[in-house]
Symmetry: C2
């Protein structure tokens, strides 16, 4: 290939790194593609790092040494996160979403790539330094958010099933009590699904009593693995005494008033604090 | 903000476009961010278009007129698609994947962002010009692939459930016959899930008899909508007489020989033809 101009290298570098969040590329990988000197590439990377910082487009991290290279860490700025939370609150508080029984219709939001991409990036930004090996979710509604979190963190996704499936081989099944319904539920996960001594991030769309999260903690113990973080889109204010204490919740649902058609939803407090730290 | 250099504008432009595949951004959007003249931006976009073409990083499409702007269409080159298919075939043919009953364990691949991102882009590239309004899948295993397809196409995802859920309001339920098991199955979708007169792309991980795809066609009729395309990761060679005829399959499964531990899997013929057209 003919030699590339700096502009061209910068564009290609940006495109490849952005399309593979958190994936470490060696300098040689780009040297080979671009046919440039390593020192030239280093200059390109430095330039890109400066631009990303200036425009709050995420972080460009370089790792030196034999196993080193460069990677892109999607990291949304505080202002962007606040805008996203406000938009989510506004959209999800629409009284037309209230369903019989006080439930909120939200699949149009939590299955929509435009929203879910951002939610995944916020979760990833929060847990990126926790040595997460897998993102884990339980079927079905949390899967898109969990998938985009896994993508942003560049780790595999694990989907826990409600019952064992012939297409997943022998499985570990556990029973747990749903905090909200007090009913006994089952979780099933293929024995092949994860390596032991793994650290996982549990991601879900909604948390009320925290029974599912607690179930996942139990299930991970069966795999000699550990839940190193819990991230949910919405948690309810009540019960305040949930089965799990330490979790990251983007939004807090105070109340759904079916009679007066009011959904009282607000940004989670924790996110503001964290976002402040980051900027 | 201080004025940006061309390098900086190119990087920011690339990053923003890559992170929002198929989303149309107005020229004014970037003019505002960059604080540059529209003519300067046009030059940047032209430059970027050239680079994307040269390095096969996808297409930069500009649309002129009042409602115009620029968007990035992820489009993998033929060589890249062939490499992906070969890698998928190799990985999925590993005899260790054979489960009792002749099933293949594949959740480590079909839930892994590194693979699924590419599969979604190949599907999107194939159907991008069909006026697709939604990507539709049935829970559970096809969801990650469907999500990444929806992301690449910049359309919402719809997940059809196996039974109706209180969290999704009133629903349309249909019964259909699974082609492989000959059992009656149910599909359920919230009445709110899609607008009528929509065109949808049905995405799934696996197709044998095509009963599920046929079920989705029936279900979409209930919403006065149309299945404008079917894309699956793997379809089986037999039965050749499936319930649906027109589908796009990345891989063809000829046979699983449990006794001799052989999985006979090959790239789908259709993809080669299409990929040829594109380069």
């Amino acid at each position: 290939m003919e030699k590339l101009q700096r502009n061209e290298r910068i564009a290609a570098l940006t495109q490849i790194l952005s399309n593979h969040p958190n994936k470490l590329f060696t300098f040689n990988y780009f040297v080979d593609i671009f046919g440039c000197a390593k020192s030239t590439l280093s200059e390109d990377v430095e330039l890109l790092r400066g631009i990303a910082e200036k425009l709050q487009l995420g972080e460009i991290e370089t790792i030196s040494g034999a196993a080193g290279g460069v990677k892109y860490i999607p990291m949304l700025g505080k202002h962007k996160i606040e805008m996203i939370l406000d938009e989510l609150c506004k959209s999800l508080s629409d009284p037309n979403r209230i369903l019989s029984g006080g439930f909120i219709y939200m699949t149009d939001i939590i299955y929509n790539p435009a929203y879910v991409d951002n939610i995944g990036k916020i979760f990833a930004g929060e847990f990126i330094n926790k040595g997460i090996d897998y993102v884990v979710t339980v079927e079905t509604k949390g899967i898109p958010i969990a998938m985009m979190t896994a993508r942003a963190m560049n780790v595999p996704l694990i989907i826990v099933r409600r019952d064992s499936k012939v297409t997943e081989g022998s499985s570990v099944n556990i029973n747990y009590v749903s905090a909200s319904s007090r009913r006994i539920q089952t979780m099933s996960l293929s024995r092949r699904a994860l390596k032991k001594n793994s650290k996982v991030l549990f991601v879900d769309d909604f948390m009320k009593g925290g029974g599912t999260a607690k179930g996942i903690i139990e299930l991970m113990k069966e795999f000699e693995s550990e839940v190193a973080g819990i991230a949910v889109l919405i948690s309810t204010k009540e019960p305040s005494d949930k089965f799990v204490r330490d979790y990251f919740s983007l939004l807090i649902l105070n109340n759904v008033d079916e009679q007066n058609s009011i959904i009282d939803l607000m940004p989670g407090i924790k996110i503001n604090k964290t976002a402040n730290d980051k900027i």
